[in-house]
């Protein structure tokens, strides 16, 4: 008869191997980018415009463009997403409409990013005639991160104990007063986490901005929301595939800045979540 413990050891070995096969490459990717990208970072690289056909100079316009786009996306998505989350957690009943909304959120989260790009092109750029602009790009990114914001905010709202609401209502507060003064303040850390995760996602995506805003090379800062802009992820794509003979240092430096931006946002979100969990009063 086979020894069950031997089988177990073999099985556990393979499960451990599978875990290593994920964790080690992730570590390597981060280490390689830090190791080769960090030496490229200096004040000039961060604050100068790209020069000599993007083979020299810095990435300042791309950083600014990404900040504009992410800000625009959040201005659009946060109010809608938060109110939608309030509806789902406080108002909706367990019925067909509720089921449909949840299904729509899942689908919105699953739509391929390049399809968001097509949609943004058709609706904002062509139909509304915004042209390829920061406005079109921000709105497209905003719709894309809506599911992230709704889902995390809803979880945050639902984790506020029901008794909090009951006490407030029994003291004569109306439903909206209860939500505004009792539920929302207690859910803020969770909502913040969701917002930051959405920001990180918007900052890193390339496909939705390809045809809605991204400029190949634009050595000046945008003046209004109707201007095109450079953006970090698209700039990395351009200098690594479209422009020949770009110094490796510039490519790694750009990848480093983008990765650092996104990972710092995620780290902040994780820290907020961790601190909040420790401080929870219930």
């Amino acid at each position: 008869m086979r020894n069950p413990y031997r089988t177990q050891n073999i099985a556990f070995f393979f499960l451990f191997l599978a875990t290593l096969l994920i964790v080690v490459p992730v570590g390597l990717i981060v280490v390689i980018i830090i190791q080769k990208g960090l030496p490229a970072i200096n004040w000039q690289f961060l604050s100068d415009i790209p020069r000599q056909g993007m083979r020299a100079g810095g990435i300042f316009p791309a950083i600014v463009g990404t900040i504009y786009l992410v800000t625009g996306a959040i201005i659009f998505a946060l109010p809608i997403g938060l109110l939608a989350a309030i509806y789902l957690s406080e108002y909706s009943k367990d019925n067909l409409l509720n089921r449909l909304i949840k299904l729509a959120i899942i689908n919105l989260a699953g739509v391929p990013s390049v399809v968001y790009g097509l949609f943004g092109l058709a609706l904002f750029v062509v139909f509304f005639k915004f042209g390829a602009s920061i406005l079109s790009g921000s709105l497209t990114l905003g719709i894309m991160i809506l599911p992230v914001i709704i889902t995390t905010s809803r979880e945050a709202l639902e984790s506020v104990p029901y008794s909090f609401r009951e006490v407030s209502l029994s003291l004569g507060a109306s439903k909206w007063q209860t939500i505004r003064h009792i539920v929302l303040p207690n859910a803020i850390p969770g909502i913040l986490t969701g917002t930051i995760l959405g920001l990180g996602r918007a900052a890193g995506e390339t496909a939705p901005i390809l045809f809605t805003v991204a400029a190949f090379y634009l050595p000046q800062l945008p003046h209004s929301v109707f201007d095109q802009a450079m953006a970090l992820p698209y700039h990395l794509y351009v200098i690594s595939t479209q422009v020949p003979n770009v110094d490796e240092k510039i490519r790694y430096g750009t990848a480093f800045v983008l990765l650092a931006l996104v990972l710092i946002m995620n780290l902040v979100a994780i820290i907020i979540r961790y601190k909040f969990r420790k401080k929870k009063k219930w």
């Binding site: 992730v26 449909l100 909304i101 689908n107 097509l118 439903k175 390809l210």
Partner: protein, 287 residues
């Protein structure tokens, strides 16, 4: 006055609650609006099963079979790599890892999920592509295989986190019962936990695959972008997503090429819709 304010606020909340339905419908309608026009020049059958994609020749040939096969080949490769590794890692995290290591591993997986795809594509170009080229003695390392390996890494965070959730939500009593009957830890996992979590794990795999089919940037950067029917996993291919991303910049608004790219968008939307709805059914099966 206060009543009026509450009335307005509540209506506003209700409207925003419907926003996600509104946007899904809006996306679909605008894809249809721009994409259906292509069927004036090419029949749906010839569009889906036509063997040549030469959108700017005269007259244009708009058959997306090579692109569909390209997407399928890469997805299949990524699935073969990511499913065993992803599910294995999920089991390790959920059942075997000590608590401290568990938290670190979960943070590592979240980290992987957060890396932008263009950064993964860049890393793939610089490390994986030369490696594939030298190992298989190929003229170029920009192949379907490189794409599959890189995409496997994008599917894994989804597979691991959802499969781990599924294992975690199996009632504790199942496990305790099996262990009390003298089963080893592995026998418990293999015979009790995995069957009990099977629908959740299946949903995890489907959502992971959905992520792979929709992935654009990394795939465009490392698969070589040759729009021909692939004959080998070691040849360059082009996917549905990469075609849209690479060609939309040059397509003239209102041209057949433009309509055809939107029609590809409809195909992608339909695929992701089908995958997400089915996965959702699996996830809610237990309830």
């Amino acid at each position: 006055m206060r009543k009026l304010k509450e009335f307005i606020v509540e209506k506003l909340i209700f409207i925003c609650g419907l926003a996600s339905i509104f946007f899904v419908v809006l996306i679909f309608l605008f894809l249809l609006k721009e994409g259906l026009a292509v069927f004036k020049t090419v029949s749906p059958f010839n569009f889906l099963f036509g063997k040549s994609w030469y959108p700017i020749s005269e007259p244009p040939q708009l058959g997306i079979l090579p692109l569909i096969l390209g997407s399928l080949l890469i997805t299949l490769g990524a699935a073969i790599i990511s499913i065993p590794i992803g599910v294995g890692c999920a089991i390790y995290i959920a059942e075997i890892a000590p608590l401290k290591i568990k938290e670190t591993l979960k943070a590592g997986i979240e980290l992987l999920a957060a890396i932008p795809s263009v950064v993964l594509g860049f890393i793939g170009m610089i490390t994986l592509v030369p490696l594939v080229k030298s190992v298989f003695h190929l003229p170029t390392g920009l192949t379907a295989l490189s794409g599959s390996i890189m995409l496997a890494f994008m599917a894994m965070p989804t597979i691991v986190s959802i499969a781990e959730d599924a294992l975690y939500s199996v009632p504790k009593t199942y496990k305790e019962g099996a262990l009390a009957l003298g089963a080893t830890q592995w026998q418990t996992i293999w015979r009790v936990m995995l069957p009990a979590a099977s629908s959740g794990i299946l949903a995890a795999i489907m959502l992971g695959i959905g992520r792979v089919i929709g992935e654009t940037m990394a795939v465009m950067m490392i698969t070589g972008n040759a729009a021909v029917i692939p004959h080998s996993i070691l040849a360059p291919v082009r996917t549905l997503t990469a075609t849209i991303a690479a060609e939309m910049g040059e397509a003239v608004v209102g041209s057949e090429h433009y309509f055809a790219l939107f029609a590809i968008g409809i195909v992608l939307f339909a695929i992701s819709f089908a995958i997400n709805v089915t996965a959702d059914l699996f996830l809610h099966k237990r309830e």
